[in-house]
Amino acid sequence: MIEISGLTVRFGGVTPLDDVSLEFPTGTCGLIGPNGAGKTTFFNVLSGFVTPASGSVRAFGTNLLGMPNYQRARWGLRRTFQTEQAIEALSVFDNVAMVHEHCCQGRGSRRREDVLDAIRFVGLDVEPGEKVGTLGARDRRLVEVARAVVGEPRVVLLDEPAAGLPEDETRHLGQMIQRIPRNRGALVILVDHDMSLVSACCEVTAVLDFGKLIASGSTAEVLRNEHVVRAYLGTEERL
């Protein structure tokens, strides 16, 4: 479980996160909101790229904000990025192995096994020795997700993983995301604009708008919430 209390981020006169308090229980949780709502800033606070003005973040009893950013990954906080960041110069295997060698126990055959297991888990059907620079958009996204799930992650943050993917590939991605909590034992927080993906994957969802939490609860209820509908569409029309 992740407990966020009174989280505020200020960039000069802008407040991308304004006194946000919420809890993410186990499983796959959604975090949605229109562009500029503060979703990525929220992920950046958790990852340690942005220091909040105030507030606290406790993940499974650990004070995340007290850790250096790279230590958070070693603790088990993994993430993908809105703009996909698979390392082009490395092979698929080395992309995933890089995370394992910094964050996980075990070397040699144990590492090899863990890395190949993560590659299989995300459904990557390419040679592990293939350079990432030669892969298509879908496979590069999957390499990034494989990096996030290798070993024993505790929290996986997925920032718009389906961006730019066609419908069938998004469906495959959704099925795989749903399996992460059960198979990898991690809590997943999914940020995406594809409401069918969020509905399919997330039991609970929180909604941000202009840096404020405007709704949270079961995904079905949240998506019917009139404030959420207004924030997304600017009308009273239902999603």
């Binding site: 950013n69 990954a73 960041q85 390392i87 995370v99 964050c103 040679e127 020795g129």
Partner: protein, 346 residues
């Protein structure tokens, strides 16, 4: 299996490189005159410096314009240690490398906060400052005190590390330089294919992605500076023992820009580029002089070369040449095939 195929390709390549190196190592001192042996020694030494720059800029994305100044500092350290303690030469190589590594890491500290143009500027300023300081204090020539420089000793004791008997001749020194350069390249390859290389690749593409993978970016950037400076330190120690010794005029700050230009031309993303760069920097001017072409023409050629590399071949000559030769081979093969087909049909 693709992995196995890759391994056998790597093995074959390593064998070819080893064989070529062995031939060069054995034949160059036998076939060529002392002058060309000295020039090729200088190529071997500078290939270590270009390797260090290719490692920093190509692998980690840190553009340093201070490598030549660092080379001068290494020369100063080697001479000071040699005159003060007269240690065995292999020990002097290692100690000079380590001390230069520490010095280079201190210069690299701003890299933790800066990158790109700002880092390049900081390192260029450091290079200029070092050049000025060296011009004022000169290289140690056996004099007293910390600086070890004496006006009266000049001429009698040149600023040169005395070579031990086993590498006193230019031929033996060339062979030592080639072995040391090969060891430095192996050190570089070992790093690039290991944990550090993967972390550097991540840092070069995206520091955020590296941090999210658990990479301690500060530590790995400093390690890159330490390793590159160590390599430059070893090169400086070799230079301090090469024919002619060291003078303050041998390390002008603009050379730091020239060396970056040749590394870009040679190919910054692979280590072959470092060898091509050293050839461009040290062998080419002498070949031009041989044809009575002023070496200044090279400045223009390097300018054009960098433009060409930036616009048409970002991987540099080392990759472009291989690709072009392969294409040429394929075309010649097709041409030969067409001719034999025409002959058989007639």
């Amino acid at each position: 299996m693709k992995g196995l195929a890759l391994e056998s390709v790597t093995l074959r390549r390593a064998l070819v490189v080893g064989l070529v190196l062995l031939v060069v190592w054995v034949l160059v001192p036998i076939v060529l005159s002392t002058f060309w042996v000295q020039i090729l020694t200088s190529v071997a030494v500078y290939s270590i410096v270009t390797l260090s720059l290719a490692l920093l800029a190509g692998r980690v994305g840190l553009v340093s314009l201070g490598q030549i100044a660092l080379l001068a500092v290494a020369g100063w350290i080697a001479l000071r240690l040699a005159f003060a303690f007269d240690p065995p030469y292999p020990l002097l190589l290692v100690v000079t490398g380590v001390l230069t590594g520490i010095f280079g890491t201190l210069i690299g500290l701003p890299a933790l906060r800066l990158s790109g143009l700002y880092l390049a500027l900081i390192t260029l300023m450091a290079a200029s400052a070092i050049t000025q300081i060296l011009a004022a204090v000169n290289f140690p020539n056996g004099g007293e005190g910390f600086l070890g420089e004496s006006a009266s000793a000049a001429g009698a004791n040149a600023a040169i590390v005395a070579r031990p008997d086993w590498m006193a001749s230019d031929a033996a020194f060339f062979r030592v330089a080639v072995i040391v350069a090969a060891l430095m390249f192996l050190l570089g390859v070992w790093h690039v294919h290991g944990k550090a290389g993967r972390a550097w690749a991540a840092i070069r593409q995206s520091e955020s992605a590296a941090i999210a993978a658990g990479v301690n970016v500060t530590q790995y950037k400093l390690w890159a500076f330490a390793l590159a400076s160590f390599m430059t330190g070893v090169a400086g120690c070799l230079l301090a023992a090469s024919a002619g010794g060291l003078t303050t005029y041998a390390f002008p700050a603009p050379d730091s820009i020239t060396i970056l230009a040749v590394v870009l031309m040679g190919g910054i993303f692979n280590f072959w580029g470092a060898i091509v760069a050293a050839v461009l920097m040290k062998l080419f001017p002498e070949i031009l002089k041989n044809f009575r072409i002023p070496a200044d023409v090279l400045t223009i050629l390097f300018g054009v070369g960098v433009l060409q590399a930036m616009t048409t071949a970002p991987s540099g000559i080392s990759v472009q040449m291989g690709r072009d030769l392969t294409n040429l081979g394929h075309r010649l093969g097709r041409l030969a095939g067409r001719r034999s087909a025409a002959r058989s049909s007639s």
